[in-house]
């Protein structure tokens, strides 16, 4: 075995990353590279798509594959066109909570509904990190951010459950403190036929942590571990007991008719062969 085996999947000329120290985004990149490696996927068969945000910079430019760094909130819509054009490639979206579930929530919903064969890794750091720490639709109730100086009064979106209800084939949530489960789920998402979402609860010590008494990455990881509840256990808990907890596990794993296959079925049905 050689040293630093994951580096071959990266655009090394741009390392080290510009992410802050301790940012969970780097961990997600690392685990994603491991998933690709373990599955033996040739990066030439991967297309990476992301939106705008710190988390969107995980694949762009670090992961060495065809990479489309798009506009804020829209990567899944871009990826839809890509998957239709390249049905045999792995099309992967890695982006942030604000990007994918905030401004981009509708594309997430409808891609899940359509059940298009895209794997989405949603890095949920509870905040709009890149723009300087404004409240996001994922920010915990009561948390301090630059735009909630008096505490957040909105409820955070339960992304995984909502996407499962919308029709995804595979949905799982883990934190960056569960690297092995996360690795397993990313592998599942990559190989699943249909829409797959892996929601990664990830630390942004700089923009979220520091304003909420979690000053460093280790602080945040400890907090994740302390607050995580496995899905099975959570199902037996009341909404009150679950307030502020992070439910982790696989929310759904099922087989459903996939969009691009159906699209190609239509073509097979009516395509005119001139000969």
């Amino acid at each position: 075995m050689s040293k630093y085996r994951m580096l071959k999947y990266l655009r090394q000329e741009v390392l080290p990353t510009t992410m802050c120290l301790g940012c969970g985004g780097g961990t997600v990149l690392n685990i994603f590279a491991n998933a690709v490696d373990e599955l033996g996927i040739d990066p030439k068969d991967l297309v990476m798509v992301s939106g705008i945000g710190c988390s969107a910079w995980i694949p762009s430019p670090y992961f060495k594959a065809d990479t489309l760094h798009t506009t804020h909130g829209r990567p899944i819509a871009f990826a839809t066109g890509i998957k239709v054009g390249l049905p045999d490639k792995y099309v992967v979206v890695i982006s942030g909570d604000g990007d994918l579930a905030g401004i981009g929530g509708n594309h997430l919903l409808h891609a899940a509904r359509r059940n298009i064969d895209i794997a989405v890794i949603l890095v949920n750091n509870f905040i709009h990190g890149m723009t300087g720490g404004q409240v996001a639709p994922t920010t915990p109730f009561g948390a301090k951010t630059t735009t909630t100086p008096y505490g957040n009064i909105e409820h955070p979106l339960n992304i995984s459950e909502t996407v499962a209800a919308a029709g995804a084939s595979y949905v799982a949530r883990w934190t960056t403190a569960n690297p092995f489960m996360l690795l397993k789920s990313i592998k599942k998402a990559l190989t699943k036929k249909g829409f797959a979402l892996v929601e990664v609860i990830s630390q942004c010590p700089v923009q979220f942590g520091q304003r909420n008494k979690l000053r460093s990455a280790p602080d945040m990881l400890r907090w994740f571990l302390k607050n995580s509840v496995p899905l099975k256990k959570a199902m037996k808990m009341s909404p009150e007991e679950l307030e502020g907890k992070i439910v982790i596990g696989e929310f759904i794993d099922r087989e459903r008719v996939e969009f691009v296959e159906e699209l190609n079925k239509i073509i097979r049905g009516v395509y005119v062969n001139a000969d």
Partner: protein, 167 residues
């Protein structure tokens, strides 16, 4: 007087510039403070410009720096040409190896040493103010009290003073 402080995201360059500017404002001088950074996260470049004058100021960014404070090698390389011939170059000697006459101190290790790692920028500011005499130390102290997050005033003041002492 055109002053540029250049480093990378996370060093607190912009807050240092802001406090310097506020101090000049407190002294009744005309002052414009601008900033330039590549993205909010820590890795990228970060520059704060402070232009101080008794005259009206028309050019809002540093065109020819009287003082350049360089806090990383990259920041130094990218900004050294902005410095006037006769300008003053201050560097963090822990991180920058300049090819020009300069002054400076090991700000990074100093900050670690005195347990004020997060107040690094105030150490730098202290050194700058102590060395270059652009504004009065008292004005800076007032500005610090106005601008740093509540509860951190004391640590910031201590760091500023530690910087002053490094001169």
């Amino acid at each position: 007087m055109q002053i540029r402080i250049a480093g990378f995201g996370g060093q607190g360059v912009i807050l240092a510039g802001l406090i310097l500017g506020e101090a000049a404002a407190i002294e009744g001088l005309n002052v414009i403070q601008t900033q330039d950074y590549s993205a909010q996260s820590r890795g990228g470049a970060s520059v704060a410009d402070v232009v101080i004058s008794d005259e009206p100021i028309y050019d809002v960014v540093v065109t020819k720096a009287d003082v350049l404070v360089a806090l990383s090698q990259k920041a130094y390389e990218e900004n050294k040409y902005t410095l006037k011939e006769s300008g003053l170059l201050i560097v963090d000697t822990d991180l920058v190896k300049p090819d020009k006459p300069h002054t400076g101190a090991p700000f990074t290790s100093k900050a670690e040493e005195v347990g004020l790692k997060v107040n690094y920028n105030m150490i730098v500011l202290g050194y700058l103010v102590g060395y270059a005499n652009v504004v009065k130390a008292e004005s800076v102290e007032k500005a610090i009290l106005r601008r740093v997050p509540r509860g951190t005033e004391e640590a910031n003041l201590r760091a500023f003073k530690a910087g002053l002492k490094l001169v």
